[in-house]
Symmetry: C3
C-alpha cells in the first residue's frame, strides 16, 4: 500500500490518504476507497471499507504534518522575466523573482528572495520586505510599504485612494490622499481584497494579521497584530482594532470607532459602537453576543405570540 | 422603417427596436421615439408616440430571439498573440486563442476552441475544457480544473488558498492547501468573484451553476448543479449545497452546513443552520421565509406599541 | 522649523505637520513629536509637547489647502509604452499616455490627456472622454463609454454581462447583454468595483457620482448625478436612483426599485421598497430611519422583558 496524495473520504482513490475525525462523516468513511485513513481512537473500530487505518489522537493535525512530504513546495521561480518592465532606480535584493508582464515602478525597493508573480503593478517608491510574495495581478499604489514574509493573493489592491470627498460650491471635491499604506511583517491578504492608503494619517495592517478574500480596509484604519478578518468583511475609515481580533465573514464596522484587543465579531454583524477588550459582539446593530442571542430568540418567539399580545394590548389598552 | 439596434423605450431612437410589456412603463412608452415596438396584446392599444407596433404574447421573449440577428457575435479571436508567454509542455487543442500579455503556466492543457482573453494568468498544470472562455485578467492558480463551456469574467480568481490558520506557539500558522478547485461544465462566474481551492478536500462548482459578480466561495465548498448565486454572496468553508439552489444578493452562509437541493435564500440573509430540500429561508439569522416575514412584521409593530407594552408590564410586573 | 510632509499626531516626526481639531485626540496631541500643529481655537491652549501651533477656525480644511504645496502631483506619464498593444483603428487625442502591457481594442477612441495605467484592457469600440484616468489593471468591456475626468481605480470592471438567465428545456439559458455601460463625467470608482452593462436598456452612472471599493452595480441600473456609494454596497438589476443619494457601506438594494433624489441609506441596510425623495432609511428590511431606530431599541428592550411578557401571556392566555 502506497499513497501519493491526500483527499477527502468520499473522493479518495486507493492511492490516496484521507482522515476520519468526526462522526458526522461516518457515511463517507464507510464507503471510502481511500488506501489509508488516519483515524481518531474513538472511531477506530467503525465498520467501513478502508482497512488500512492509523489510529491517532488528532488525525487532522497529523495530516498537516504529512503534507510537506507528499506535496513538496513548487520550485521557486527566480530571475526577472524578459517581459517584465523595471523602472529607473529600482533596487533588488538577492534571488528576487519577477514574473511575466509585471511592472516595477521607479525607485521601488525589493528585499531578498521577494517573489513578484505575473501581471503585477508595483508602483513608484514601493518598499517590499524580504521573502514577501505577490502571487499574481496585484496592484501596489505608489509608496505602499510591505514588511517581510507578506503574502498578497491575486487581485489585491493596496494603497488606493480612500473614499473622501467634501461638498463644495463647484460640486463634490476629492480629498487628496497623502497618507501611507503600511502592511507589516507576516501579513497574508486574500484574493481581490482592497486596502486604501491613509488620507493624512496612515493605514496600517498589523504584523501577523490575516485577511480573507474580498475584504475592504478603508483609509486611516489601524489593525493591530494577529487579527483575523474573514471574507467580505469591511472596516470603515479611521477605525482602530487592537491585537488578536477575530472578525467574521461579511461583518461591517463603521468609521471612527475603537475596538479593543481580542474582540470577536459574529458573522454578518454591523458594528456602530466602540467595543472593549475581549468582548464578543454580534448582530446589526451589534451588541454583546449574549444580549444579541437573547434578542434574536425573543424576536422569533414574539412573532409567534403576536396575535395574543395584540389582543391583550387591546383589552387593557388606552 | 428599418431598425438596427435595440434600446429601452425612453432611450430608443427612430432606428431602434424596443419592447413594452409592463404597464409600469406606460409613460416611457407614450413618449418613446423608438422606430418599432414589440408590444403585448393587452397594451397594444395604449396611446403613444410609437406607431409601428408588433403585437405579441410575450414581447420580451421575442426580443431575445431577435438579438442574434441584430448583434452578430464578435468575430472570434484566434491564434496566440505574440506577447503571450507560453510555458513548457503546454498542450493546446484546435483553434485556441490566447490574448495579449496572457501567461500560460507549464503543463497547462487547453481544450479545443478555448479563448483566453488578454492579461490572464493560467497557472501550472491547469486544465481547461473545450469552448471555455476566460474573458480578461483572470487568475487560475496552479492545478485548477475547468470543464467545457465555462465562462469566467474579468478579474475572477480561482484556486487561491483558503483562509485556514491554526494557532501555534510561534504565532498563527498557515494550513497548507493541497485540495483542488474544480469548476464543472457550463459554469459562468461574474467579475471579480473568488473561488478558493480545497484544503484537503476539493472545492467544486457544480455543472451549469451561475455566479454573479464579487461572490466568494471558500475552501472545500461544494455547490451542486444549476445553482444561481447573486452578487456579493458568500459561502463559508466546507458548506455543501444541493442542486438548483437560488441564493440572493449579499447572502452569507456560515461554514460546515448542509443545504439541500432547490433551497432558496432571500437577499441579505445570513444562514447558520442546515436547510432541507426545497425550503425558502430569509433573515439573519435565517429562518423559514414565512416565519421571518411574520417576525419582521412583529418587529416593526411591537416598536409602535412599545410604550403600551412597557406600561402594562409595569402595572402587572413582579 | 521646517516641515516637509504631513502625518497624524501620534506618528508625526519633527519635520512633519499635523493637525488637532477634536478633543478625542488629546492624548495623541500631548505626546506628539510633530514640528508644527494646526490647531482649532478652543484647543489652542491644551498642554502638550508641540510648541509650534497655528490657531485656526478649521484646521482640517487648512490642512487640505496645504497639501498641494507639500505633495506636488506626480509627473504625468506620457507617451505610449513600447509594450502596449494598440488595436486597429484606434483614435488617440493629444498627450494620451498608455502604460506598460495595456491593451487597447480595435476602434477605441481616447480623448485628450487620457491616462491609461499599466495592465489595462480597453475593449473594442470603447470611448473615453478627455482627462480620464484608468489607474491600473482596469477592464472595460467592448463598447463601454466613459465621460470626461472619470477616474477608475485598480481592478475596476465595467461593461461585463449582467446576471440574467432564463430557465429552458435544455437547462439555464443566458440572456444576451447588448445594452451599454455609460459612465458620465467626473465619476470616480474605487478598487475592484464592478459595473455590468445593460441587457437591452443601458446601465448609467450619473455625472459626478463617486463609488467606493468593491461596489456592485447590476445591469440596467441608473444612478443619478452626484450619488455617493460606500464600500461593498450593491444595487440590483434595473433599480434607479435619483440625484444626490448617499448609500452607506454594505447596503443592498433589490432590483426594479425607484429611489428618489437625495435618499440616504444607513450602513448595512437592505432595501426592498421604493423610497421617496429626501428620505433616510435603515435596517433590513429597510424602513424610514426613525422607525428603524425605534424598532431596534424595542428589539433589545423586549428581550430583557421576555420572561415577564411570557409569564403574563400565560396568565391571561387563551
Amino acid at each position: 500500500m502506497r499513497v501519493v496524495r491526500v483527499a477527502a473520504l468520499d473522493r479518495a482513490e486507493p492511492d490516496e490518504l484521507s482522515f476520519f475525525a468526526n462522526h458526522r462523516y461516518l457515511k463517507e468513511f464507510s464507503g471510502s476507497r481511500a488506501g489509508l485513513v488516519l483515524i481518531s481512537s474513538e472511531l477506530a473500530n467503525e465498520a467501513g471499507r478502508p482497512k488500512c487505518r492509523i489510529v491517532l489522537a488528532k488525525p487532522q493535525e497529523a495530516m498537516l504534518l504529512v503534507l510537506p512530504a507528499l506535496y513538496p513546495a513548487a520550485p521557486r521561480e527566480s530571475g526577472i522575466h524578459s517581459s517584465a518592465v523595471i523602472g529607473r532606480g529600482v533596487r533588488l535584493g538577492r534571488e528576487v523573482a519577477i514574473g511575466a508582464h509585471s511592472v516595477i515602478g521607479d525607485g521601488a525597493v525589493l528585499g531578498d528572495r521577494v517573489v513578484i508573480g505575473p501581471l503585477c503593478d508595483v508602483g513608484r517608491g514601493v518598499a517590499i520586505g524580504a521573502d514577501s510574495h505577490l502571487v499574481s495581478s496585484v496592484t501596489l499604489y505608489a509608496g505602499t510599504t510591505l514588511g517581510a514574509r507578506v503574502r498578497l493573493h491575486a487581485g489585491v489592491r493596496a494603497g488606493s485612494d480612500g473614499f473622501g470627498y467634501v461638498p463644495s460650491a463647484s460640486g463634490i471635491q476629492k480629498v487628496p490622499h497623502v497618507g501611507r499604506c503600511i502592511i507589516e511583517d507576516d501579513v497574508e491578504i486574500g484574493a481581490n481584497s482592497t486596502i486604501d492608503r491613509g488620507s493624512i494619517a496612515d493605514t496600517v495592517i498589523g504584523a501577523g494579521s490575516k485577511l480573507d478574500n474580498l475584504v475592504m480596509i478603508a483609509h486611516n484604519v489601524r489593525l493591530g497584530r494577529m487579527c483575523l478578518l474573514a471574507a467580505q468583511s469591511g472596516i470603515a475609515g479611521s477605525t482602530r482594532l487592537g491585537d488578536g481580533c477575530m472578525i467574521g465573514g461579511q461583518v461591517g464596522v463603521t468609521g471612527h470607532l475603537e475596538l479593543g484587543s481580542n474582540v470577536k465579531l459574529g458573522a454578518g454583524s454591523g458594528v456602530m459602537d466602540d467595543i472593549p477588550d475581549g468582548e464578543m459582539w454580534s448582530g446589526a446593530p451589534a451588541r454583546p453576543h449574549r444580549e444579541w442571542l437573547k434578542a434574536t430568540s425573543a424576536f422569533y418567539k414574539l412573532a409567534d405570540r403576536m396575535r395574543e399580545i395584540e389582543r391583550q394590548l387591546r383589552e387593557r389598552g388606552t
